[in-house]
Amino acid sequence: MADELKFPTNGAKADRDSLDESLTALIRDAYTPEGGDAYWAGLEQRIMARVASQSTSNDTGWWSVLAPWARPALVAAAAIFAIAGVVNTQLTDSDEQLAYESAFPTPDVVSASEEIISVERGTDGATISYFLSH
Protein backbone atom coordinates (compact mmCIF):
# COMPACT_ATOMS: atom_id res chain seq x y z
CA MET A 1 0.00 0.00 0.00
CA ALA A 2 1.26 3.44 -0.78
CA ASP A 3 0.42 6.84 0.62
CA GLU A 4 -1.89 7.86 -2.17
CA LEU A 5 -4.53 10.53 -2.21
CA LYS A 6 -7.88 9.28 -0.99
CA PHE A 7 -10.62 9.04 -3.62
CA PRO A 8 -12.59 12.30 -3.56
CA THR A 9 -15.94 11.06 -2.30
CA ASN A 10 -18.74 13.07 -0.74
CA GLY A 11 -17.17 16.41 -1.47
CA ALA A 12 -14.42 15.97 1.07
CA LYS A 13 -11.28 17.88 0.44
CA ALA A 14 -8.57 15.34 -0.24
CA ASP A 15 -5.27 15.87 1.53
CA ARG A 16 -1.87 14.25 1.37
CA ASP A 17 -2.22 12.77 4.83
CA SER A 18 -5.38 10.80 3.99
CA LEU A 19 -5.53 7.04 4.22
CA ASP A 20 -5.21 5.32 0.88
CA GLU A 21 -8.19 4.13 -1.08
CA SER A 22 -7.81 0.42 -0.39
CA LEU A 23 -7.77 0.95 3.36
CA THR A 24 -10.76 3.28 3.39
CA ALA A 25 -12.61 0.83 1.13
CA LEU A 26 -11.86 -1.93 3.58
CA ILE A 27 -13.15 0.08 6.52
CA ARG A 28 -16.23 1.11 4.54
CA ASP A 29 -16.89 -2.50 3.65
CA ALA A 30 -16.51 -3.60 7.24
CA TYR A 31 -18.98 -0.92 8.35
CA THR A 32 -21.61 -1.64 5.70
CA PRO A 33 -24.45 -3.93 6.72
CA GLU A 34 -25.18 -6.90 4.52
CA GLY A 35 -28.50 -7.44 2.84
CA GLY A 36 -28.28 -4.63 0.31
CA ASP A 37 -31.51 -2.88 -0.65
CA ALA A 38 -33.63 -5.30 1.37
CA TYR A 39 -31.85 -4.27 4.54
CA TRP A 40 -32.39 -0.57 3.85
CA ALA A 41 -36.05 -1.10 2.98
CA GLY A 42 -36.48 -2.95 6.26
CA LEU A 43 -34.72 -0.22 8.22
CA GLU A 44 -36.92 2.42 6.61
CA GLN A 45 -40.00 0.42 7.62
CA ARG A 46 -38.79 0.09 11.20
CA ILE A 47 -38.07 3.80 11.41
CA MET A 48 -41.45 4.76 9.96
CA ALA A 49 -43.24 2.32 12.28
CA ARG A 50 -41.69 4.15 15.23
CA VAL A 51 -42.54 7.52 13.70
CA ALA A 52 -46.14 6.40 13.19
CA SER A 53 -46.42 5.12 16.75
CA GLN A 54 -45.02 8.43 18.02
CA SER A 55 -47.55 10.35 15.97
CA THR A 56 -50.39 8.09 17.16
CA SER A 57 -49.51 8.49 20.80
CA ASN A 58 -49.15 12.23 20.39
CA ASP A 59 -52.20 12.98 18.26
CA THR A 60 -55.09 10.63 18.83
CA GLY A 61 -55.52 10.51 22.59
CA TRP A 62 -58.78 11.90 23.97
CA TRP A 63 -56.72 14.60 25.62
CA SER A 64 -55.54 15.82 22.24
CA VAL A 65 -59.04 17.34 21.73
CA LEU A 66 -58.41 19.50 24.78
CA ALA A 67 -54.85 20.39 23.83
CA PRO A 68 -55.75 23.76 22.20
CA TRP A 69 -57.47 24.79 25.44
CA ALA A 70 -54.50 23.98 27.63
CA ARG A 71 -53.04 27.49 27.65
CA PRO A 72 -56.32 29.40 28.29
CA ALA A 73 -57.22 26.84 30.94
CA LEU A 74 -53.92 27.41 32.73
CA VAL A 75 -54.44 31.19 32.65
CA ALA A 76 -58.01 30.84 33.97
CA ALA A 77 -56.86 28.47 36.70
CA ALA A 78 -54.16 30.91 37.76
CA ALA A 79 -56.68 33.79 37.89
CA ILE A 80 -59.14 31.74 39.94
CA PHE A 81 -56.36 30.72 42.30
CA ALA A 82 -55.31 34.34 42.76
CA ILE A 83 -58.89 35.53 43.43
CA ALA A 84 -59.46 32.66 45.85
CA GLY A 85 -56.29 33.67 47.67
CA VAL A 86 -57.42 37.28 48.07
CA VAL A 87 -60.90 36.26 49.29
CA ASN A 88 -59.43 33.76 51.71
CA THR A 89 -57.07 36.38 53.11
CA GLN A 90 -59.92 38.81 53.69
CA LEU A 91 -62.11 36.19 55.39
CA THR A 92 -59.25 35.15 57.63
CA ASP A 93 -58.66 38.77 58.66
CA SER A 94 -62.32 39.31 59.66
CA ASP A 95 -62.41 36.02 61.59
CA GLU A 96 -59.31 37.07 63.50
CA GLN A 97 -60.87 40.45 64.25
CA LEU A 98 -64.01 38.79 65.64
CA ALA A 99 -61.98 36.41 67.76
CA TYR A 100 -59.93 39.29 69.15
CA GLU A 101 -62.95 41.35 69.99
CA SER A 102 -64.64 38.41 71.71
CA ALA A 103 -61.55 37.85 73.84
CA PHE A 104 -60.84 41.53 74.51
CA PRO A 105 -64.12 43.52 74.36
CA THR A 106 -63.67 47.07 73.21
CA PRO A 107 -64.48 49.52 76.11
CA ASP A 108 -67.71 51.50 75.64
CA VAL A 109 -66.80 55.21 75.57
CA VAL A 110 -70.20 56.46 76.83
CA SER A 111 -70.44 54.08 79.79
CA ALA A 112 -66.90 54.93 80.73
CA SER A 113 -67.70 58.63 80.99
CA GLU A 114 -70.81 57.88 83.04
CA GLU A 115 -68.66 55.78 85.36
CA ILE A 116 -66.33 58.72 85.84
CA ILE A 117 -69.24 61.08 86.58
CA SER A 118 -70.75 58.69 89.09
CA VAL A 119 -67.39 58.32 90.80
CA GLU A 120 -67.00 62.09 90.92
CA ARG A 121 -70.50 62.55 92.34
CA GLY A 122 -69.77 60.06 95.10
CA THR A 123 -72.30 59.66 97.93
CA ASP A 124 -73.26 63.41 98.00
CA GLY A 125 -74.92 63.11 94.68
CA ALA A 126 -76.93 60.16 95.87
CA THR A 127 -78.15 62.14 98.92
CA ILE A 128 -79.20 65.11 96.78
CA SER A 129 -81.04 62.80 94.47
CA TYR A 130 -82.83 61.25 97.45
CA PHE A 131 -84.04 64.63 98.82
CA LEU A 132 -85.13 65.88 95.43
CA SER A 133 -87.15 62.78 94.83
CA HIS A 134 -88.96 63.17 98.16
Binding site: M1, K6, P8, T9, N10, G11, A12, K13, D17, S18, L19, L23, T24, L26, I27, R28, D29, A30, Y31, T32, P33, E34, W40, L43, E44, R46, I47, M48, R50, V51, A52, Q54, S55
Partner: protein, 178 residues
Protein backbone atom coordinates in the same frame (compact mmCIF):
# COMPACT_ATOMS: atom_id res chain seq x y z
CA UNK B 1 -22.91 20.56 1.65
CA UNK B 2 -25.11 20.44 -1.46
CA UNK B 3 -28.78 19.72 -0.82
CA UNK B 4 -30.20 17.06 -3.19
CA UNK B 5 -32.83 18.43 -5.58
CA UNK B 6 -35.48 15.98 -4.43
CA UNK B 7 -34.91 16.82 -0.77
CA UNK B 8 -36.39 20.31 -0.55
CA UNK B 9 -40.02 19.47 -1.47
CA UNK B 10 -39.87 16.41 0.78
CA UNK B 11 -38.55 18.50 3.65
CA UNK B 12 -41.27 21.13 3.16
CA UNK B 13 -44.00 18.48 3.10
CA UNK B 14 -42.54 16.69 6.12
CA UNK B 15 -42.49 19.97 8.04
CA UNK B 16 -46.21 20.20 7.28
CA UNK B 17 -46.69 16.77 8.90
CA UNK B 18 -46.57 14.51 5.83
CA UNK B 19 -45.21 11.15 6.98
CA UNK B 20 -44.88 9.85 3.43
CA UNK B 21 -42.58 12.74 2.63
CA UNK B 22 -40.60 12.02 5.78
CA UNK B 23 -40.23 8.40 4.63
CA UNK B 24 -38.71 9.80 1.43
CA UNK B 25 -36.18 11.71 3.52
CA UNK B 26 -35.39 8.55 5.47
CA UNK B 27 -34.81 6.70 2.19
CA UNK B 28 -32.46 9.43 0.98
CA UNK B 29 -30.35 9.74 4.11
CA UNK B 30 -30.49 6.52 6.12
CA UNK B 31 -27.38 4.95 4.57
CA UNK B 32 -25.11 7.84 5.41
CA UNK B 33 -26.75 8.28 8.80
CA UNK B 34 -26.05 4.61 9.48
CA UNK B 35 -22.36 5.03 8.65
CA UNK B 36 -22.15 8.10 10.87
CA UNK B 37 -23.61 6.08 13.72
CA UNK B 38 -21.43 3.08 12.95
CA UNK B 39 -18.31 5.25 13.04
CA UNK B 40 -19.20 6.22 16.58
CA UNK B 41 -20.66 3.05 18.11
CA UNK B 42 -18.83 0.50 15.87
CA UNK B 43 -21.38 -2.26 16.50
CA UNK B 44 -24.13 -2.85 13.91
CA UNK B 45 -27.01 -3.24 16.36
CA UNK B 46 -26.08 -0.06 18.23
CA UNK B 47 -25.69 1.83 14.96
CA UNK B 48 -29.17 0.78 13.85
CA UNK B 49 -30.62 1.79 17.22
CA UNK B 50 -28.95 5.19 16.88
CA UNK B 51 -30.30 5.66 13.34
CA UNK B 52 -33.84 4.77 14.38
CA UNK B 53 -33.67 7.00 17.44
CA UNK B 54 -32.14 9.83 15.41
CA UNK B 55 -34.84 9.78 12.75
CA UNK B 56 -37.61 9.60 15.37
CA UNK B 57 -36.09 12.62 17.15
CA UNK B 58 -35.85 14.40 13.80
CA UNK B 59 -39.55 13.76 13.14
CA UNK B 60 -40.46 15.07 16.57
CA UNK B 61 -38.48 18.26 15.92
CA UNK B 62 -39.20 18.57 12.19
CA UNK B 63 -40.72 22.04 12.53
CA UNK B 64 -37.31 23.30 13.68
CA UNK B 65 -35.62 22.16 10.45
CA UNK B 66 -34.24 24.99 8.37
CA UNK B 67 -34.87 23.92 4.74
CA UNK B 68 -31.83 25.95 3.65
CA UNK B 69 -29.59 24.05 6.05
CA UNK B 70 -30.41 20.68 4.52
CA UNK B 71 -32.05 17.68 6.14
CA UNK B 72 -29.01 15.45 5.71
CA UNK B 73 -26.58 17.54 7.71
CA UNK B 74 -29.25 18.14 10.34
CA UNK B 75 -30.25 14.50 10.78
CA UNK B 76 -26.62 13.33 10.78
CA UNK B 77 -25.97 15.55 13.79
CA UNK B 78 -29.05 14.15 15.53
CA UNK B 79 -28.02 10.56 14.73
CA UNK B 80 -24.47 11.28 15.95
CA UNK B 81 -25.91 12.58 19.23
CA UNK B 82 -28.03 9.45 19.56
CA UNK B 83 -24.93 7.32 18.91
CA UNK B 84 -22.94 9.28 21.49
CA UNK B 85 -25.77 8.71 23.98
CA UNK B 86 -25.44 4.98 23.37
CA UNK B 87 -21.67 5.04 23.86
CA UNK B 88 -22.15 6.93 27.13
CA UNK B 89 -24.63 4.30 28.29
CA UNK B 90 -22.32 1.47 27.24
CA UNK B 91 -18.99 3.03 28.01
CA UNK B 92 -17.14 -0.22 28.40
CA UNK B 93 -16.72 -1.63 24.93
CA UNK B 94 -14.04 -4.27 24.79
CA UNK B 95 -11.54 -4.86 22.03
CA UNK B 96 -13.06 -8.29 21.47
CA UNK B 97 -16.45 -6.78 20.78
CA UNK B 98 -15.04 -4.43 18.16
CA UNK B 99 -13.12 -7.24 16.51
CA UNK B 100 -16.28 -9.28 16.48
CA UNK B 101 -18.13 -6.38 14.92
CA UNK B 102 -15.67 -6.11 12.10
CA UNK B 103 -15.55 -9.83 11.61
CA UNK B 104 -19.31 -10.16 11.64
CA UNK B 105 -21.26 -11.51 8.64
CA UNK B 106 -21.67 -7.91 7.46
CA UNK B 107 -18.23 -7.98 5.85
CA UNK B 108 -17.30 -9.31 2.46
CA UNK B 109 -15.96 -12.85 3.00
CA UNK B 110 -13.81 -12.57 -0.13
CA UNK B 111 -11.53 -10.00 1.51
CA UNK B 112 -8.21 -11.06 2.89
CA UNK B 113 -8.83 -12.50 6.33
CA UNK B 114 -5.53 -11.50 7.85
CA UNK B 115 -5.83 -7.92 6.67
CA UNK B 116 -9.30 -7.64 8.10
CA UNK B 117 -8.25 -9.13 11.35
CA UNK B 118 -5.34 -6.72 11.64
CA UNK B 119 -7.53 -3.80 10.65
CA UNK B 120 -10.04 -4.76 13.31
CA UNK B 121 -7.33 -4.93 15.93
CA UNK B 122 -5.81 -1.64 14.81
CA UNK B 123 -9.11 0.22 14.85
CA UNK B 124 -9.91 -1.26 18.23
CA UNK B 125 -6.68 0.16 19.61
CA UNK B 126 -7.55 3.68 18.54
CA UNK B 127 -9.27 5.90 21.09
CA UNK B 128 -13.03 6.04 20.51
CA UNK B 129 -13.08 9.62 19.23
CA UNK B 130 -10.05 9.12 17.02
CA UNK B 131 -11.70 6.11 15.42
CA UNK B 132 -14.90 8.08 14.81
CA UNK B 133 -12.99 10.99 13.30
CA UNK B 134 -10.93 8.84 10.95
CA UNK B 135 -13.98 6.94 9.69
CA UNK B 136 -16.13 10.05 9.32
CA UNK B 137 -13.40 11.96 7.48
CA UNK B 138 -11.40 9.46 5.48
CA UNK B 139 -14.17 6.97 4.76
CA UNK B 140 -17.29 9.13 4.74
CA UNK B 141 -15.77 12.39 3.57
CA UNK B 142 -17.15 14.75 6.20
CA UNK B 143 -15.22 17.96 6.80
CA UNK B 144 -13.49 18.72 10.11
CA UNK B 145 -16.17 21.29 10.86
CA UNK B 146 -19.00 18.84 10.19
CA UNK B 147 -17.31 16.20 12.32
CA UNK B 148 -16.79 18.74 15.09
CA UNK B 149 -20.48 19.62 15.02
CA UNK B 150 -21.48 15.96 15.11
CA UNK B 151 -19.16 14.98 17.94
CA UNK B 152 -19.46 18.21 19.92
CA UNK B 153 -15.82 19.20 19.57
CA UNK B 154 -14.11 22.13 17.80
CA UNK B 155 -13.20 21.60 14.15
CA UNK B 156 -9.52 22.11 15.02
CA UNK B 157 -9.70 19.32 17.56
CA UNK B 158 -11.23 17.02 14.96
CA UNK B 159 -8.36 17.90 12.61
CA UNK B 160 -5.79 17.20 15.32
CA UNK B 161 -7.47 13.94 16.33
CA UNK B 162 -7.52 12.88 12.69
CA UNK B 163 -3.80 13.53 12.26
CA UNK B 164 -2.89 11.49 15.34
CA UNK B 165 -5.37 8.73 14.49
CA UNK B 166 -3.89 8.33 10.99
CA UNK B 167 -0.37 8.19 12.40
CA UNK B 168 -1.34 5.57 14.93
CA UNK B 169 -3.33 3.50 12.43
CA UNK B 170 -0.45 3.54 9.93
CA UNK B 171 1.97 2.52 12.66
CA UNK B 172 -0.30 -0.34 13.71
CA UNK B 173 -0.65 -1.52 10.11
CA UNK B 174 2.96 -0.84 9.14
CA UNK B 175 4.04 -4.41 8.63
CA UNK B 176 1.04 -5.09 6.45
CA UNK B 177 1.84 -2.10 4.27
CA UNK B 178 5.50 -3.04 3.82
Amino acid sequence: MRIPDEERPLAEAARAGDQTAFAGLVRLHQRRAYLVARAIVTVHEDAEDAVQEGFVRAWQAIERLDPNQGFGAWVNRIVANAALDITRRRKVRSTEELSDALQSPFRDPAQDAELKSRLAEALAQLPERARSVIVLHDVEGFTHMEIGEMLGIPGGTARSDLHHARQKLRKLLKDLRD
